[in-house]
């Protein structure tokens, strides 16, 4: 059975990028829906847990739900339905559903492509795709330390709670949070200094040596050719 996990991450990033743009720029339902089979196939190939993905979709779409609701109530379009004192816009609803569809397709595609590689492999692939070296290093370090910084934050909140801190609407609360943020920053400055010195000790010269190299396999080429074929077919069909 074909699995996305074995595909070269460089190929995955390129294909994901192409399809994200394709879906984002779809003008109508039929174009957006023509990407649906591809997204479904990737979901199957990612072997992700569908329920988990759907939950993620719901959380990630809160901005869009808000957008759709405000549009339904406020868009003064020709087609409206009166319900009591409210006038609901049919065009607003249709437009909103299209946006929701496009956004969900891209989210599902991104999730199925990126969840099948580790974050570090994805960054490594970006490095090979000519992302500036120092931006890659920032990405690597940020990902490496984000959990550490989060733990520091949780420790500080725990300490504050032990001293009877309870968040409420008061200047005192804001001051406490500000102190926590400031402490996080101070710790980050100090840690950055230590990290830099540790790297110097190990002979850091501004670049990370790469020991593991990607190589295109037969599956990768089949995957990229069939994806491109699909993409061109959709674009040509619409054109």
């Amino acid at each position: 059975m074909f699995s996305l996990a074995v595909i070269d991450p460089r190929v995955k990033v390129v294909v994901l990028f192409l399809f994200s743009w394709g879906i984002a720029l779809s003008p109508d339902f039929s174009t957006a829906l023509s990407y649906l089979p591809f997204v479904c196939l990737s979901l199957v190939a990612a072997k992700g847990r569908i329920l988990k993905l759907l939950k993620l979709l719901f959380v990630a779409n809160t901005f869009l739900l808000f957008l759709v609701v405000t549009m339904v109530f406020t868009y003064e379009s020709p087609r409206t339905v009166k319900v009591g004192a409210l006038s609901l816009s049919v065009d607003g609803l249709v437009y909103g559903l299209l946006l929701l569809l496009k956004s969900s397709l891209i989210l599902l595609l991104t999730a199925s492509f990126l969840s099948t590689s580790s974050a570090f492999t994805v960054f490594h692939a970006l490095h090979h795709l000519r992302l500036p070296a120092n931006l890659c290093q920032i990405l690597f370090f940020t990902y490496r330390y984000v959990h550490t910084v989060k733990e520091e934050y949780e420790t500080m909140v725990k300490a504050a709670k032990c001293r009877g801190f309870r968040p409420e609407n008061s200047v005192r609360t804001y001051r406490t949070f500000a102190n926590i943020v400031a402490n996080l920053l101070v710790k980050s400055y100090k840690r950055a200094d230590r990290v830099y010195k540790a790297m110097l000790c190990r002979g850091f010269r501004g670049t990370f040596p790469v020991y593991h190299h990607f190589s295109l396999k037969r599956e990768d080429i089949i995957f990229v050719v069939s994806s491109l074929f699909y993409f061109t077919a959709v674009v040509l069909w619409k054109f």
């Binding site: 879906i23 290093q137 934050y153 400055y189 950055a192």
Partner: protein
Amino acid sequence: MHISEGVLPGSLLVAGWVLTALGTYVGLRRLDDRRIPLAALLSSAFFVASLIHVPAGPTSVHLVLNGLAGILLGWAVFPVLLTALFLQAVLFQFGGLTVLGVNTFNMAFPALIAYYLCKRLLQSEKKFSLTVAGVLSSFVAIMGAGLLVSLELFFTGEAFKKTAEIVFLAHLPVAFIEAFINSFTLLFLKRAVPEVLKEAV
């Protein structure tokens, strides 16, 4: 507020990426090797700070702190926020790859303006100047971001007119709260590690 995938038209998405790429290029040029770990750690810190929920009236808002990031980083705020937003897109699927350019620009550009406005104030020894810097950076960065998001929605289509207004107003409470947070944070930094504020400029 992050704009979702699929909402904006292609021209805005491309413009966002071009502007973000320019800002990131300048930011990286000004960042020497020595400061790369620092940029990364501040990126993690701002990432974590955006997970902090602060009570605001009956609900709660999460901190953005792009103003503070701008003050401390200058032009480097572009690569740092790009990284933080990219990680958010990869880890939590907030926003996405096509709108990443627009979302980064929305946050980083007002932060850069805040940096230039507050540059002088940070050098002062007076507590009052630091408080002014905190309030100013919060309002410029947050309301600036809100204004950009609203304008983009407004130019996207007729249907978003009201939404754009609501989005802009929704940024006000965040700006008020962050005015407190920024000022107290700057006062703390001045007391504890004054060299940090000197280094920033």
